[in-house]
């Protein structure tokens, strides 16, 4: 059919076959590094904890990778998912929080930082950061705040949230232990829900540790070590004079501290 050369549209659609075309290996820019993070906000504190295992498939890359970062202005950010994207996100947010301080000569509030983080994620709507972030800080009243996000920036302020490999294991545990779901007043015959109370930081730290030790038992991507980062309102030690500068350090007056402990390594 000599005319077919002139008539590209009348040619039957020829699909490339494995014989005629080099096989296209489809490369994904994404990977998944496992691990788990958990954030809980209290009346005057915030905790974000994460395990320190970083893996790829069945290989453990390292047992000492931190997932929770001090991003300046008394705020913390935990990230799970693809660690390369997560670290890039942390760098970007930390940089912007620093910029904010230089431009406005004051620390950003956790609420403003929360919106900012949302915008950063949404800007990459069509090539998203493959990570789930938890932002923690004290709000202007000094009340703990956890903000949780999806990959493309949808966010909300929450009391508690677990993200990552063992999120599905930890979430119902949190429902029960933090929000007292399915707990009832003894003797009420399952009629009267147990009333909600503000848990102390010490109580919550125990819950966090239990959550992770349990997750380690049942999820292969979680383990090795626990990084527990807390923000509490700056308190003066007894006899210590009030230092205005120190108290005004951040929007919520938060002081960040970190405790490392062991988790099972198997």
């Amino acid at each position: 059919m000599a005319s077919s050369y002139l008539l590209p549209h009348s040619q039957p659609n020829v699909h490339p076959t494995t014989a005629s075309q080099p096989r296209q290996h489809h490369w994904s820019p994404y990977t998944e590094n496992g691990g788990c993070i958990l954030g809980i906000a209290g009346k005057d504190y915030v905790i974000i904890a994460g395990d320190t295992r970083s893996s790829e498939g069945y290989s453990i890359n390292t047992r000492t990778a931190r997932k929770v970062y001090d991003i300046g202005s008394g705020l913390i950010l935990g990230v799970v998912g693809m660690s390369a994207d997560g670290e890039e996100l942390v760098r970007k947010v930390a940089r912007k929080i620093d910029d904010y301080k230089r431009n406005h000569d004051k620390h950003i509030t956790v609420a403003a930082a929360a919106v900012m983080l949302s915008r950063i994620l949404y800007q990459k709507r069509f090539f998203p950061y493959y990570c789930q972030p938890l932002l923690g800080g004290l709000d202007e009243e000094g009340v703990g705040a956890i903000y949780s996000y999806d990959y493309v920036g949808s966010f909300e302020r929450e009391q508690s949230r677990a993200y990552g490999a063992a999120a599905s294991l930890i979430t119902p545990f949190l429902d029960n232990q933090i929000n007292f779901k399915n707990q009832f007043v003894p003797g009420s015959n399952g009629e009267e829900p147990r009333p909600k109370v503000d848990l102390s930081k010490e109580q919550v730290e125990k819950i966090v540790k239990d959550a992770f030790t349990s997750a380690v038992e049942r999820h292969i991507e979680v383990g090795d070590g626990l990084q527990l980062v807390t923000i509490v309102k700056g308190v003066r030690a007894e006899g210590e004079e009030e230092d205005e500068d120190e108290r005004e350090k951040t929007a919520g007056g938060g002081v960040i501290s970190e405790v490392m402990s062991d988790l099972k390594k198997d």
Partner: protein, 320 residues
């Protein structure tokens, strides 16, 4: 003079705006006048009744001279302009071609040891047998690369240029392993963001010239980075890491490991890889970095024993 310039600017503005608007409507034909553009915008779409009326007109004769005497779209299909598209879709590396296999790195109390064999494979063919995959970068850093060899060589070029530019200010400042590692990881992550990865897994090893603090870090084609007392890329991650972790499980073990033991450990692991990784070579390069700088060397796997093979059918010469 100034007025002329200004009026020219406005003139250009008037001129370009309408035509760019038309071009926007019309992307099939690039060399036509404004009125014919309009015709083809309609005739190439198959949506409205209005356009079909126009199409029928164009078959006979209509007010658009552009269509007169041209092959009928309804018979021959719309004119194929695709050959006019100057740019072809950009293609990127989708797979490595000539490759290097594992790189090993182990921290010990005074520094780090890093090793990589000298084979560059083309698929399963051992294409080159004298390739250096360790690169010294400055006084206290060695970079070892697995994966695509051409990408590795390109990275070497970048690192070479980086060092030269570091030299320009003629001050005492120097780049050490943490800086080199960060630089490489930024390059690799940016390339993955462009969907044009440098197909490598890379170990950066170094020691602080003042404190002796050993440094060992990994980065790969997706920009994933991590650090550990012992690291290995490729098959090494599966075959050598379990052995290495037995000896250097954590930083405390690192501070108890001597250079001699670290060397023996790496020799052992390179031997295991030689036995079990079909893409590995018998000759390898090693480098030790301490606060005093870099020492390098080359070694062959010693005391090989293939006795186990006697029991396995298909392994070497045997009577069937």
């Amino acid at each position: 003079m100034h007025r002329t310039g200004l009026s020219l600017g406005i003139h250009q503005l008037e001129h370009t705006q309408p035509s760019s608007r038309l071009n926007h409507h019309h992307h099939h034909h690039s060399t036509t006048t404004a009125s014919t553009n309009y015709l083809h915008t309609l005739s190439s779409s198959h949506l409205s009744q209005h356009h079909q009326d126009l199409q029928i007109e164009s078959i006979t004769m209509n007010q658009f001279p552009h269509g007169w005497g041209r092959p009928r779209d309804d018979v021959y299909g719309a004119y194929d302009n695709s050959y006019l598209n100057e740019s072809q879709p950009i293609t990127h590396t989708q797979r490595p071609i000539v490759t290097g296999t594992s790189v090993l790195g182990v921290k010990f109390k005074d520094g780090v040891i890093i090793a990589a064999d000298n084979i560059a494979s083309y698929g399963s063919l051992a294409r080159y047998d004298n390739v250096e995959r360790l690169l010294q970068v400055g006084t206290h850093t060695v970079v070892g690369a697995g994966g695509d060899i051409s990408d590795m060589q390109y990275l070497h070029l970048l690192l070479d240029n980086l060092l030269i530019k570091e030299q320009y200010p003629a001050d005492d400042h120097q780049l050490y392993a943490p800086q080199v590692h960060t630089y490489i990881s930024r390059v690799l992550y940016q390339r993955r963001n462009k969907f044009d990865p440098l197909w490598n897994s890379i170990l950066t090893a170094g020691a602080d010239p003042k404190t002796s603090e050993p440094f060992l870090s990994y980065v790969d084609l997706k920009g994933t980075t991590y650090s550990a007392p012992a690291l290995a890329t490729g098959y090494g991650a599966h075959l050598a890491i379990p052995i290495l972790r037995r000896h250097v499980a954590d930083e405390e073990a690192v501070s108890n490991l001597t250079q001699e033991d670290a060397q023996k450990l790496v020799e052992e692991c390179m031997k295991v890889l030689w036995y079990r990784d079909a893409r590995s070579g018998v000759k390898y390069s090693w480098a030790i970095i301490t606060k005093d700088g870099v020492t390098t060397g080359s070694k062959e796997i010693e005391n090989q024993s293939w006795k186990f093979a006697e029991m396995i059918k298909g392994y070497g010469a045997q009577n069937i």
